[in-house]
Amino acid sequence: MSMKNPLILTPVFLLVVLFAGCGGDDQDQASGKMVRYLSLGAKVRGMDPMDIGDTTSSSVASQIFESLYQYHYLKRPYELIPCLAEDFPTGEDQLTYTFKLRPGVVFADDPCFTATQGKGRQLVAADFIYAWKRIADVKNISKNWWIFEDHIVGLDEFRDYTGRLKAGENVDYMRPVEGLQAPDDFTLVVTLKRPWPQILYLLAHLPTAPVAREAVQYYGKSIHNHPVGTGPYMLKDWKRGNKIVMVRNPRFRQEFYPVEGSPGDREAGLLEDAGKVLPFVDEARWQVVEEDQPRWLIFMRGQLDASGIPKDFYNRAIDPSRQLRSEMKDKGIRLQIFRDPSTYWYGFNMEDPVVGTNKPLRQAMSMAINRPEYVEIFTNNRAEVAQGVIPPLFKEYDPEVINPNCQYNPERARELLKEAVEVHGGPLPTITISTPGTDTLSRQMGEYVTLAMDNIGLKVKIDYMDWPSFQDRIKTKSSQVFQMGWVADYPDPENFMQLFYSKNVSPGPNNFNYRNQAFDTLYEKAKAMPDSNERRRIYHQMENIIRDDCPAIFLVHGVAFVLHYNWLKNYKPHVFGYGLIKYQRIDVAARQKSVGR
């Protein structure tokens, strides 16, 4: 063994390392291709629509898959327009829907279409039925069964049938489901068990996208790696944990950029491409970036077209008057502010013997929190104070209502706490708050809340845990108070109200285990009603019941700040739709000028 080796190795090694460090990293930008650069903050689990339940995977897979409906890109409030459907459904009652499919839609070319040597075939109504049966199939353990559960005639029975099969037995997908019929290739008839006014929103949801049976059979268990859809893009390269590259689907049907939008869109230049053929961008590239600092740095370098603003970079980007700082403007960065359909709260477990039966205690805790200060510390004012559960984005939101329980009032809170002691019949024990997060922000929020409760004379202790432990805690009803939020899937308050419906108690989505007869009656009534003034009134009634009963400390509604470079054209944030890259365009020359400086 030569003893000198390690010593010699050191400088050589360092030299190699330093040398390798030189060289450029933007050769892609010189090619003139229109490339959209995006980042991914979390792992993309798979691209099988049936199995997608997280926003990260949705935001990627939605460029490949399309559903019957989609959201209008520019119009606000959000409204649906047909996508794979030719028009809105017809049907004489609220129980039968007949969808006509848009003709000329084909699946992207893929080796799975063996009969046609890889050429993608036409989309037919049976593809929808097949996709939805896959969601119902217990063996597939789909995340999305909640969409169809107890809605379509015969589909629940189909699920039972798949559950009864023994291991090794194949599910017969030809088995008819009464409520899903395809009289011809371009007609889909859906029969419901009871009225379901939200159906169209859910048919705009990625998991309901049609899937080619050939692909599922060809790729088998690896189908999540081989998305075959009808959308504007196709998957070209996917390195897990690293990057995803998509290219334009040459056989994408003709679709055009919208010709009308909301007021102000024309002035903002969002209608410059009106009526042009979609998509514009040739290639979309996602880079996985898990930490805030590197994401911010590559955005500032121009290696991302758009980015959110991490909490601690906020002051570098935005001045106190909520305007973009001039050095950011000089780089050609623009700021867009928009509301999220989200509400965040501390929920009470109403089955807990201490907090569940003690309304003054719940009210006191709710009044102890100074929401404007909370918004300032933890979100840099990127949130709005909540007065209830429905976020301001919804048309059912009533800006007039001031909820006394949501006002910071330590004096009143201390009085209420005295009542609470009487109700409890003795001094209050320490209240435990379960927090789903062990990161810095969760810890800091915990410290803040402890301080706030201390201020009114209530002892709390924060139990920090990671998401699976937290879910365990709330699904088994063993938490006392829990920190949570909800982001709506579609613009109907029903999505929030279901969280308080007594039949949905844990492990269902009603984690408050809230039970209120009056609320239930109203919920059941409103759930079956199409949108109307009457329904809006009922929703107000329901929200008032919750505000008064205080099963949760409603904190804030989210407001998002997004930065993007001016070379990214037609960029308008959208909170419900995901397949939006097709509308966007890159001014390649402007990017080159700016980045190549």
Partner: protein
């Protein structure tokens, strides 16, 4: 010799079984049930129960006593405990619960990225720190020693996070010497791993130098070194010929045994520089209670560890006649 190797191999079996036992116990004690995550946020209680059944979580934990009492032996052993042992020992790793990707495929695609970063970093770290430790040991007691030890301790006290934040911001972003993040396989990789590698070396240097300094000093004080000095041999010669040579044995032992853990990668560096290695895969699996994935990783590492131990033992036996082939 052959019988020695066989005996050593047999010794590895209880260790592997022990690892399986410990993982099984831990997985059963860790709170959190992956079926909630799989079921989706609006799932009903029935859906969750169905998913638990599909995943086999409703099977008896150790032994199906009911089946046993009915005399169905095979069915009696269809329990979580025996399935865990059977599947792992036959290397029949199931698919990941969250991504449905075969675990083995994902390990194969991620381990090279981790190693591409970890291996040069490890070698660089060892080489540099041994070099410095030699200097320090040689200059024992002088001001050079004091200053270097001081620098080492200061270096040890600065958290790795600070090195990363600083390096990424100044060296990569402000000065543009390195790409900010990213990874490509093949020769391209060097461009991307250069900075994380340097930062890893810088942050690890302090404690490594201190460790090797101790090892060297131990050797310096041994009789034969004293004799060598007394014989009037020049210092560098003694240093290389005797001290380093003898210090190499404990050093190599620790090195071989830390190699299996290299493949798990460096969590922090991989996260900040977006290197698609095992670190983020592992953390992700943990955060979604993807037990099959964690199990596969633990099993693979411990297998490598046991093998590493075997190899060092056999090498010792070959080199050192004093070790009996008992």
């Amino acid at each position: 010799m052959v019988s020695y190797i066989i005996r050593r191999l047999l010794y590895a079996i209880p260790t592997i079984l022990g690892v399986l036992l410990i993982t099984f116990i831990l997985f059963n004690l860790i709170p959190g049930d992956p079926s909630y995550d799989i079921a989706g946020k609006s799932a009903s209680a029935e859906t969750i129960a169905e998913i638990r059944r599909e995943l086999g979580f409703d099977k008896p934990r150790f032994l199906d006593t009911e089946a046993l009492s009915q005399g169905r032996i095979a069915a009696a052993f269809d329990s979580q405990f025996f399935n865990h042992f059977r599947n792992t020992l036959t290397l029949n790793f199931p698919r990941s619960l969250t991504s449905h990707e075969p675990i083995w495929d994902e390990i194969k695609s991620r381990a090279p990225a981790s190693l591409t970063l970890a291996a040069p970093m490890f070698i660089g770290l060892i080489a540099t720190s041994i070099a410095i430790a030699l200097v320090v040991a040689f200059a024992r007691g002088s001001w050079v020693d004091t200053i270097l030890v001081f620098i080492c301790v200061v270096g040890m006290s600065i958290p790795m996070l600070s090195y990363i934040l600083f390096g990424q911001h100044y060296l990569a972003y402000e000065l543009g010497w390195f790409p900010i993040l990213g990874y490509e396989s093949g020769m391209q990789a060097f461009k991307y791993i250069a900075l994380p590698c340097l930062l890893g070396i810088a942050s690890g240097l302090g404690s490594y130098v201190r460790f090797y300094r101790t090892v060297m000093l131990d050797e310096m004080r041994s009789d034969y070194v004293r004799t060598a000095f007394a014989k009037g041999l020049s210092s560098p010669r003694v240093l290389f010929k005797h001290v380093l040579k003898n210090a190499m044995i404990p050093i190599i032992t620790t090195l071989v045994l830390s190699i299996p853990f290299l493949f798990l990668g460096s969590l922090l560096l991989e996260r900040f520089f977006s290197i698609p290695g095992m670190g983020s895969y592992f953390l992700d699996a943990f955060n979604s209670r993807d037990f099959p994935v964690i199990n596969a990783m633990v099993f693979t590492t411990s297998l490598l560890y046991v093998l590493g131990q075997l190899v060092t033992d056999i090498c010792y036996a070959l080199v050192d006649p004093r070790i009996s082939l008992r």
